[in-house]
Symmetry: C3
Subunit: 315 residues, 3 copies
């Protein structure tokens, strides 16, 4: 594997999930593969889980890891082509990415969307330029429109904990006070649409995701109807795709509670984290027996390790 930016970069998602679960059983078996290989993790935005789980995955594989918070430890990058750089940007992404590719065998990049210009965000300009100019394999650590390591960890978690062959999985919109990217729900949707699950999206009217990511999903505007018989509930806020980046209303009644779980098949509750308690998801859910959010976060290691292993094998 030379690029891990979306589900479309994966030849066989079931095989990748199996590989991840195998690595979870035997994390240190492939350290010869990573010996003297370096992973650079480049953050244009904050990170906790992605930062730590991807480091851990690389260390498990025997790799060296260098972390760079480019915005804080370096400087502002210029992303536009052809401009006279007489403003606040100090280095063009062409040179920055090119140089990082000289120092790393694999690069991970995190770059959030601005949520102001949909066309720009959905072009994945920053991420794609990194890929283009660094000339080494690249793992997305969450880009403007996708968070594939999260989605792979989510699928691993569902595969690991499901009680039925083809579980009902519901992605349900949750309230928030700030406009959040669509990357996690986009990505979760496109992975679930390819996985062997019965996939439903529950959301208030107006929060339709870009249709490219939801082909094959049931989209339902009544949360109760969607949750009925659910085996897994994936809770997540996102801002509107149209008008782009907007919050359309408070919709506080969409917060998941134990009461709402009653109509489910004792559903396991997932969230990519960080989660705002009692706004997105209630204390009673997060502290109760149905929440698997911490376990799910733990699986981020095996998702990253499976991807890095395939990249190391292709070097």
């Amino acid at each position: 594997m030379k690029l891990f930016s979306s589900v479309n970069d994966v030849a066989n998602i079931n095989a990748l999930v199996k590989e991840a679960l195998k690595l979870k059983q035997n994390p240190y078996a492939n350290q010869d593969l990573g010996k003297n290989k370096t992973l650079a993790l480049v953050f244009l935005n904050p990170s906790l889980r992605t930062r730590m789980s991807t480091q851990k995955a690389a260390l498990n594989l025997g790799m060296n890891v260098m972390v760079l918070n480019i915005d804080k430890e370096g400087w502002a990058l210029e992303l536009r082509d052809g401009v006279i750089m007489d403003g606040s940007t100090v280095e063009h992404i062409r040179e920055a990415a090119g140089v990082m590719g000289q120092y790393a065998d694999i690069i991970g990049v995190r770059s959030f969307p601005g949520l102001r210009n949909r066309e720009e965000d959905y072009s994945e300009m920053i991420f794609n330029k990194f890929v283009q100019f660094c000339k080494v394999p690249v793992v997305s650590l969450e880009s403007a429109t996708r968070h594939p390591l999260q989605s792979l960890a989510d699928l691993i978690t569902i595969e690991e904990l499901k009680n039925v062959a083809r579980p009902k999985v519901v992605l349900t919109w949750a309230p928030h006070i700030k406009p959040l990217p669509q990357a996690v729900p986009n990505s979760f949707a496109e992975w679930m649409c390819k996985a062997d699950v019965d996939f439903t999206i529950a959301q208030p009217k107006g929060y339709e995701l870009c249709a490219d990511f939801t082909q094959g999903a049931n989209i339902i505007y009544d949360q109760d109807e969607a949750l009925t018989g659910a085996d897994f509930i994936y809770v997540k806020n996102w801002s509107a795709y149209e008008p782009y980046g907007n919050i359309l209303g408070k919709n506080e009644e969409w917060m998941l509670t134990n009461e709402k779980l009653k109509i489910t098949n004792d559903a396991k509750v997932m969230h990519c984290l960080p989660v705002r308690r009692n706004l997105e998801l209630s204390d009673e859910i997060l502290d109760g027996p149905n929440s698997i959010v911490v376990h799910e976060a733990g699986n981020r290691v095996w998702a990253a390790q499976a991807v890095l292993k395939q990249m190391l094998e292709s070097l």
Copy 2:
């Protein structure tokens, strides 16, 4: 050892000091113990010595280390229970600590007091919640009321450099322009009260530490009287316990000078660092033959290594 938060977590402080001095002689003998084990160092506040010495200790033991400046590289944590997280905090400590425990075998946490609410600080809420929710062994990298790795390094240093079987050790208050936590003097006091030393605290009236930490110490308000015959002088500023977090006066005459050393037993001068020169401690002391502050800081490695070794042995 599953927790290192205070002297009370140590079964035998003399044995721990001996272990540390043995590791100093032979730092790399236990690398099988740390192989494929990961230490996460989580900083909610700045750090130089603790950051570097604990990394070094873990590397000496063959461990992997991940450093996280959660406030700068991540986001603000919510510490209170039951609140609706619609403000500036992005993630609850319950999830954050729980997730970190998925990625690390041992976690070190630094969290300073706010110095505004004594009850809150002295409840060690932040540190204790980390311990509770991460579910892996935790080392304090300085908490609201204690700095045990510093105190252990101090005791190692005294044991290493003492010329008499039971040295006289004087903790003397020093002037400062900012209100500082009581963590270092609290911690030093509780370790010295359990160590085989003659322990005195010299301070202006009003700077009495919380009595829980000073059981068995001589508390003297006349610095000269306290310093007489001292073998080790531990210089440190702290703010008042009552009224909490206050500076009660300039007390510039409390700064240690060579003149004051004359009445001591050629005392060695210690400080946890960072030290403000010519405010807390004079140039002439710091640059003179009696200062052992840099040597003392060097011993932070062996303190951390002894603690981490015992934790690794208990995994």
Copy 3:
């Protein structure tokens, strides 16, 4: 080697270049040398290439690396002697450097000039105090007046890519909107003056570098004249040495273009990076066949590795 702060610390620059090129062919042959040895990289200023390439070099040698952004992860250092530290500085460089020397076998330090006080900058006070007080071998990661790892990488690049025995190398001033340090051109000049090259400096009047660094160089004020027949062009902006730190004019016509390359010997174009596109150097050059800036940045690894190897051998 115990110190790498300038070309004067190198016994034989040709031998060092050869060593670097040998390491480039065989990067992992010396890992026993670095085993259980720790490199601390201390940044008082931002860094991308130096940060990553020096880490990579140390990892190639089997070393452990600790990175410290002292200004962001620690606190402000006091540099002046004899002052009462009752202001914003928290720790004196005497203690900070001394302590770091307890935790590291080799220290790398980056400290830019203030560009306000020439005497202070050119005394290399900060860098020299680090060297004095840390008491372990020190590598400059760019100091107030020099950037020797960059210059060594530049010489390696010239040696590697030259088509004639004694190439013509031209350092040409380039426009910029901010006053930049003289460290890179100073350092490049003093290395080129000792290397087996025909060395010319092209610059507008008034931008003469301190003469200590340019002994043996041709200094020419007509860019065309200087570029004629050049094999390598080193593009770089710097502010005036007198009046110190000033920009003397826009001089936009000094930006290198393809048109200007015509009079050269199909010159290879170098820059230390970061470079501001279309201000310092045109897109057409950077994206064209003559630019070797990314390759040059890649050679930073072998420069650092050659220096660290010699330091490890001297421990």
